[in-house]
């Protein structure tokens, strides 16, 4: 390049590293760290979520390289470990630690957040015609309760194999309708596997504190959706508590974490 481009007043356009330079991609989400794009990888019919960690110009280049590399590797290792242990997560299809990208299997489906939001909306409608269609409501509710149980089991499995998510919200759990062979095209739209995504802050640990904070963050995410979601989360916890050895200790620790609100009181 002969002349450097003029600095942008607003958000800069990131130039993706090869092999993703050929077509312009639109950003799906921008977190503090990574940009997520949808594209294809290996074959034109393999959709992937491309997670790109652009260089941070405020950081010293040596430090920036070191951090990007370490974090990308950590994320990939956690995902591979989950896969090996049979926890449903997106598979790693490719990556380049030097250039800061990771190509992850594309997950179809809706996030638990979306499912909950729809339930909240539907709940408002059903409140009026409750007498006549009581059975139908209950059926829908039962599906939802079942979904909660699967969320509880999925989180428990994750913790059981020694992984803590670090940023477990209702947007980090996805219901995938396709991967469940039992699912029918109509009616049972909440069937399907729970696939946990977004492991950017995950750590490999069996510490009860980290596990409890995971649950606490998820609880806050439920509470933020709707006050009525509270009993639903209790079901998540109940199933979690039955799912693996050591879960009871985590639930006990969760009570402490709740009291101090994730943060402990500052000393001095």
């Amino acid at each position: 390049m002969a002349t450097p481009p003029p600095p942008h007043a607003s958000q800069p356009d990131h130039i993706l590293p090869p092999p993703f330079t050929h077509t312009p991609l639109t950003v799906l989400t921008q977190g503090a760290e990574a940009l997520v794009y949808r594209t294809t990888f290996l074959t034109p019919s393999t959709p992937v979520a491309l997670k790109y960690r652009p260089p941070k110009p405020y950081r010293h280049p040596v430090l920036d390289k070191r951090l990007t590399k370490a974090r990308l590797l950590a994320e990939a290792r956690v995902l591979v470990k989950c896969r090996k242990e049979g926890v449903k997560v997106p598979g790693v299809l490719g990556g380049d630690v030097e250039n800061g990208w990771l190509a992850l299997e594309w997950v179809e489906g809706r996030t638990v957040r979306v499912v909950l939001d729809e339930w909240v909306e539907r709940g408002g409608e059903n409140g009026e015609g409750e007498n006549g269609e009581g059975v139908g409501v209950k059926e829908g509710e039962e599906e939802l309760w079942d979904l909660m149980r699967r969320v509880g089991r999925a989180v428990a499995r994750l913790h059981d194999i020694g992984v803590c998510h670090g940023d477990l919200t209702t947007t980090a759990d996805t219901v995938s309708p396709q991967s469940s062979p039992a699912s029918q095209p109509t009616g049972h739209e909440l069937d399907g596997d729970i696939i946990i995504i977004d492991f950017g802050l995950a750590t490999q640990t069996v510490g009860e504190e980290e596990r409890a904070v995971d649950l606490y963050v998820l609880e806050r995410a439920f509470a933020a959706t709707h006050p009525a979601a509270e009993p639903l989360f209790r079901e998540v916890l109940r199933v979690y508590g039955e799912s693996f050895k050591g879960a009871k200790v985590v639930l006990k620790r969760l009570e402490d974490v709740r009291l101090r609100g994730r943060k402990r009181s500052m000393l001095g």
């Binding site: 802050l201 500052m266 001095g268």
Partner: protein, 353 residues
């Protein structure tokens, strides 16, 4: 309305006089802003007992001088504001005692102010930043704060020691002078640093930890003494000798990158593009520069104040106290105590929308 503010939570005693015009749209007028710092010898920190002694020796002189400089009569002062906490016990007590004495002597109401809220309100007032994410970085505090429904909520903070404490203690190891303050001298040395030495980088979500860095920097510092054998001295991968300047540079680059990262995460979380840096470490130009680059990439900007307002001062206590006083809040005389533990989110912020 006019307020007198007394600050003494750490090694500075600050006396400030501020006037809020009767029309709220007009900016406050700073009538006096005096400060005296207790400077300990190189290699030593400030001990609570000696610091309290310093504050007691200076408080009367500074108040007299501030009132004279402001050109106000005692009758004109509406309220006396003092730092209730957080901070070091002994210095806080000596200044609270001075405030109580004045209040009884002059027959004035009192308002106890949270030190952190004082920093935030002063920063907002000076920079006119409307609703920024606040990074509060000083010798005793490291917090990422955002305002929501009548509270300054803490999104991220240090898990162990404060950033300023980390820098100060590092300076102590290298026997860097404490005058005017250790962070300033580290900043000047860092400007001549060339090599980045590896230090631990510990960020957990929106929280950060600094104690491991301090321990690692102390170990490295033991390897650069000029009295050591040439062969035993610490070298970079290229074979250059690692200097004091390099260590200061590496420390700054590492800890500031951590601060910018947790701030950026909080900004992404609350959807804000403005960031305000307050507290003593906020006067560091490299930190301001890094924060500016990050904010620009997010389509926003950084707000910072100079050392008069970001280093502990009395005017910020007067300002925040007066804001609270104007909403009708007065601290009852029997409650005019002080406390070392006083979290930012404990304060009900009645003066904001």
């Amino acid at each position: 309305m006019i307020a007198l503010g007394l600050e003494g939570s750490a090694n500075k005693i600050g006396i400030g006089l501020i006037s809020h015009p009767s029309t709220p749209s007009k900016p406050p007028i700073i009538l006096a802003n005096l400060r005296h710092t207790y400077v300990s010898p190189p290699g030593e920190g400030f001990l609570p007992k000696d610091t309290a002694l310093h504050h007691r020796a200076w408080v009367v002189r500074l108040i007299k001088q501030a009132v004279r400089q402001a050109g106000v009569r005692v009758e004109d002062i509406d309220v006396i504001c003092y730092t209730k906490g957080p901070g070091m016990g002994a210095p806080l007590q000596s200044v609270a005692l001075a405030a109580r004495t004045l209040a009884l002597l002059w027959g004035k109401p009192m308002v106890g102010v949270n030190h952190c809220v004082g920093h935030i309100e002063m920063g907002r007032s000076i920079t006119r930043a409307l609703n920024p994410v606040v990074l509060y970085v000083s010798g005793g505090n490291t917090q990422v704060i955002a305002y929501s429904s009548q509270r300054y909520r803490i999104f991220g903070e240090t898990l162990d020691i404060a950033i300023g404490n980390c820098i100060d203690r590092f300076a102590r190891t290298l026997l860097i002078p404490n005058d005017p303050f250790p962070g300033y001298n580290v900043e000047q040395l860092a400007k001549h640093g060339r090599n980045l030495v590896d230090l631990p980088y510990t960020v957990k979500g929106m929280d950060a930890s600094f104690s491991g860095i301090l321990a690692a920097a102390d170990v490295l510092a033991a390897g650069i003494g000029e009295d050591l054998d040439e062969g035993k001295r610490l070298r970079t991968e290229e074979g250059d000798l690692v200097t004091r300047e390099d260590l200061c540079f590496s420390l700054q680059e590492t800890v500031f990158a951590m601060l910018v990262e947790i701030t950026e995460r909080a900004m992404a979380h609350v959807g804000s593009t403005q960031v305000l840096v307050v507290g003593g470490v906020g006067s560091n130009e490299r930190l301001q520069q890094m924060m500016g680059i990050m904010a620009r990439d997010r389509g926003g900007s950084v707000f910072a104040t100079d050392e008069r307002f970001c280093i502990d001062n009395g005017i910020m206590i007067a300002h925040a106290g007066l804001l609270e006083y104007e909403t009708g809040v007065v601290t009852k005389f029997e409650d005019t105590s002080c406390t070392q533990r006083f979290r930012t989110d404990e304060v009900y912020v009645g003066w904001r929308e």
